[in-house]
């Protein structure tokens, strides 16, 4: 029999989900505190609540070790909550304990899904926490703690807050505003980082019944903030707001004691709802089904075009299409999540590795506010973590070396996430030692990887060695990197996403790894053209201009069959007929293809028009190298049941440039 009673088993998932969420919150506060080197009242309260909740739920699940351990943590933070001054100057040495606590909870939570789960002893941890409590406490406090128990939780939150300083704001929404509760929820989320204390009425914003209250009375926010103006300007900037006014008299003071806990947990627990995991699977299905529906619609439309009745039903079809596209947008939107949700993991990785290596690292993230496809972010996690590890391990020098180089003691690593024109870029850059071209080349030579004379290698080609399996410049493998596995894994993941990796590095100055991946969309607006027998698609966003080839052939614009001149600019010319091994025929066109800063010209056949297509991945049996070499990223099902090839501008550009270099 398993560890849990059969009637408990249905609770496991909820318990896991809830606890993970709470630990995310916990981790967030830790990272924040470690960065700012202080822990504010809100964080202390929040950690206290986390410990308290986990303690209760673990006890309910019969997990005594977890429960005892979190109980001690709760005691510890009860101390700090009552006397925040205890923490002054003592915070530093707590972090290791707090992180081990987190690791223990997280590993237990993961373990409990196993059938043969047994509790892991937390004795060590409990002892460590108890030591801290002894360190911080005098005996009376502990006693008081036990007596106060739960009731303390509710009343305590206001204790530290000077009630006089609380400002009350009344926010009214415009009449045409829909979903007032959600808007209110968003508002609270926006301003919560600026407030030390925050509560609001109505409380049950997740509930639709709040809408009528919001319509009548508006949203009342009680808050304590350093800069009230900042909060108000945040509020005013939000759409659908009619007015924001400050109410001086405290007529609506929140007094219902019991509700305090709920309200506050609502503020800090906004990140994700409890059922996000379940909803996520459904979202993927929804996205997939929407795609199917779009394809079916295309097929139907094509079939209808052949019938006499088409003119009468054309408008109906159009309407269908409109609804379908709305559905698609919705499905895509639902699959987005905020980057800030996953950033704590990265902080943690950087912290742990840096600590292990004895290096000092200042880690910064740019682009936390972005909303990206959750699937994509999950897939990118491993490559990014690997790059971060590399940056600390190989990039950032030891403190002594840095000081000798006259660099700041603390190494800087920046993870920046940017979104532009259908692509997401992830950049990991460090201000470390950079890569040594000579060393890389020597190593490649030793490993017998050189394919042409040494002096013919460009910087870019030399850097690309590191992506080869089994290539590692560090002579000794460390715990986290240097075994030569990894960079090729990064490359593989990026390949599978149809993306590219770029390396920029300067010896002594640091390195940057730039990954660019296309944002996955259910459907893509494409230009459709023929190359011999193949029907090809290229995303419209990458198309610059289109020329008729014959017309221009006479105007000596084509410098050679390899390049193409437009407005004094020379583009590499990629002949798709040659690439696809097809015979050239009449109606040739030249398309200027743009992707980021790079442009090439491609020679194609007749243009068939513009079409919205749903991209399908090619089966694995058609190897990745084939796809790369042919510039094909996927296929689309056409109206008549045949398939069109979706080309990737990134790959085509790479092919065109590769062809150039061979010359």
């Amino acid at each position: 029999m398993g560890f849990f009673d059969p009637d408990m088993e249905c609770m496991i998932e909820v318990y896991q989900c809830e606890t993970i969420e709470l630990m995310d919150e916990f981790e967030g506060h830790l990272i924040e505190a470690e960065k700012s080197k202080t822990m504010d009242a809100e964080a202390i309260n929040s950690i206290f609540r986390v410990a308290h909740t986990i303690k209760s739920s673990s006890a309910m699940m019969g997990m005594e070790q977890m429960s005892q351990c979190t109980h001690r943590m709760e005691d510890l933070f009860a101390l700090f909550r009552d006397k925040p001054e205890l923490l002054q100057g003592k915070l530093e040495h707590l972090f290791d304990l707090l992180y081990s606590f987190e690791d223990y909870i997280r590993s237990e939570i993961e373990e409990i899904s196993r059938e043969d789960y047994e509790q892991t002893s937390a004795e060590d941890l409990i002892e460590r926490i108890s030591k801290e409590i002894d360190f911080f406490t005098n005996p009376q406090l502990e006693e008081k703690e036990i007596k106060k128990d739960d009731s303390l939780l509710e009343s305590s939150l206001l204790e530290d807050v000077n009630e006089e300083a609380i400002t009350t704001l009344k926010v009214l929404f415009k009449e045409n505003c829909q979903m007032e509760n959600a808007r209110a929820f968003m508002l609270i989320k926006q301003i919560s980082p600026f407030c030390q204390f925050l509560s609001y009425i109505p409380e049950n914003l997740e509930d639709e019944s709040a809408i009528s209250v919001l319509k009548k009375q508006g949203l009342l926010i009680h808050l304590l903030a350093d800069s009230l103006n900042e909060v108000i300007s945040k509020l005013i900037a939000s759409p659908y707001l009619k007015s924001v006014e400050e109410i001086k008299k405290k007529e609506e003071k929140p007094k219902e004691d019991g509700s305090e806990k709920e309200k506050n947990s609502a503020v800090s627990g906004i990140k994700e709802t409890k059922f996000a995991t379940i909803a996520w699977e459904q979202i993927i299905k929804l996205q997939k089904l929407t795609g199917e529906l779009l394809t079916a619609e295309n097929i139907l439309e094509n079939a209808m075009k052949k019938t006499a009745a088409f003119s009468t039903i054309e408008s109906l079809l159009l309407n269908n299409k409109k609804i379908l596209h709305q559905l698609e947008d919705l499905a895509n939107e639902a699959s987005l999540m905020s980057v800030s949700n996953v950033i704590p993991q990265y902080y943690r990785v950087v912290r742990d590795i840096a600590k292990n290596e004895g290096k000092k690292v200042d880690f910064q993230v740019v682009g936390e506010e972005l909303e990206v496809d959750r699937n994509l972010m999950d897939t990118m996690a491993n490559p990014l973590i690997h790059l971060l590890r590399n940056a600390i391990d190989h990039g950032i020098e030891s403190v002594e070396e840095r000081l000798a180089e006259k660099k700041p003691e603390e190494g800087k690593i920046v993870l920046s996430i940017k979104s532009f024109a259908g692509y997401l870029s992830f950049t990991v850059s460090d201000d470390g030692s950079g890569m040594d071209e000579k060393k890389l080349l020597e190593k490649a030579k030793r490993k017998g990887l050189l394919k042409k004379p040494e002096n013919q290698y460009t910087t870019e080609e030399i850097f690309s060695f590191i992506f080869l399996p089994g290539f590692s410049t560090n002579e000794e493998a460390t715990q986290y990197s240097g075994r030569g596995v990894g960079m090729d894994v990064v490359q593989n993941v990026v390949d599978s996403l149809n993306g590219i990796v770029q390396v920029e590095s300067q010896k002594g100055k640091g390195s940057s790894f730039i990954i660019r991946v296309p944002v996955s969309m259910t459907s893509i607006e494409c230009l459709c053209f023929k190359v011999g027998k193949s029907i090809c698609f290229l995303p419209v966003k990458n198309i610059g201009r289109i020329y008729a080839y014959e017309e221009l052939e006479t105007k000596i614009k084509i410098v050679s069959r390899k390049s193409w001149l437009e407005a004094e600019e020379i583009f590499p010319l990629l002949n798709l007929y040659t690439l696809f091994d097809e015979k050239e025929n009449k109606h040739k066109r030249i398309i200027i293809l743009k992707d980021g800063s790079k442009s090439i010209a491609i020679l194609t056949g007749r243009i068939l028009g513009q079409q919205t297509v749903v991209e399908k991945n090619l089966p694995a049996i058609i190897g990745r190298s084939y796809r790369k070499n042919m510039g094909i990223s996927g296929a689309a099902i056409m109206g008549d049941g045949s398939l069109g090839l979706i080309l990737s501008s990134q790959h085509l550009i790479r092919i065109a440039q590769g062809a150039d270099e061979d010359e």
């Binding site: 795609g291 193949s534 690439l579 696809f580 089966p619 049996i621 058609i622 190298s625 094909i632 049941g641």
Partner: protein, 139 residues
């Protein structure tokens, strides 16, 4: 496949030769669907096709065995290997008990095929080792 692992098989005829595919792998048997050729595709691949919203790669038995027969049937495989196999025709379904294999394993030709002889059908049936095939033709 070892001797002990007798499984139900589907028997196909391609030219004069009978081939067998382990029935567990088969999703369905359909008429050869409309195929789209990939540029510079390998000789083993007959083309790709829309199979209920997914892209089905269809392998050519002609390409695999170096024959030139009229391929009109497609056996769709699922599971680890989602692919179609274009063959001349399917003959019968041979249950485990109906097979009396005089197992005689020989590796031939590009390591693609493994042979075993079935006495009851009077002709030998070449059992296709899909894993081996995929390994050999992966571009």
């Amino acid at each position: 496949m070892s001797k002990k692992e007798l499984k139900d098989i589907l028997v196909l005829k391609h030219g004069e030769v009978c081939y067998g595919i382990v029935a567990d792998l088969i999703k369905e048997i359909i008429p050869l669907p409309l195929l789209t050729k990939l540029p510079k595709q390998s000789e083993y691949l007959k083309g790709i096709s829309d199979y209920r919203g997914n892209i089905l790669p269809v392998l050519s038995m002609n390409g695999l065995t170096g024959t030139n027969k009229k391929e009109q049937t497609c056996v769709v495989l699922e599971g680890e290997y989602f692919l179609g196999l274009a063959v001349e025709e399917t003959v019968e379904f041979l249950t485990e008990s109906a097979q009396k294999l005089n197992y005689d394993e020989i590796e031939i030709n590009r390591g693609i095929l493994k042979i075993s002889e079935v006495i009851s059908t009077k002709v030998p049936i070449f059992i296709l080792d899909i894993k081996e095939i995929v390994k050999n033709i992966l571009v």
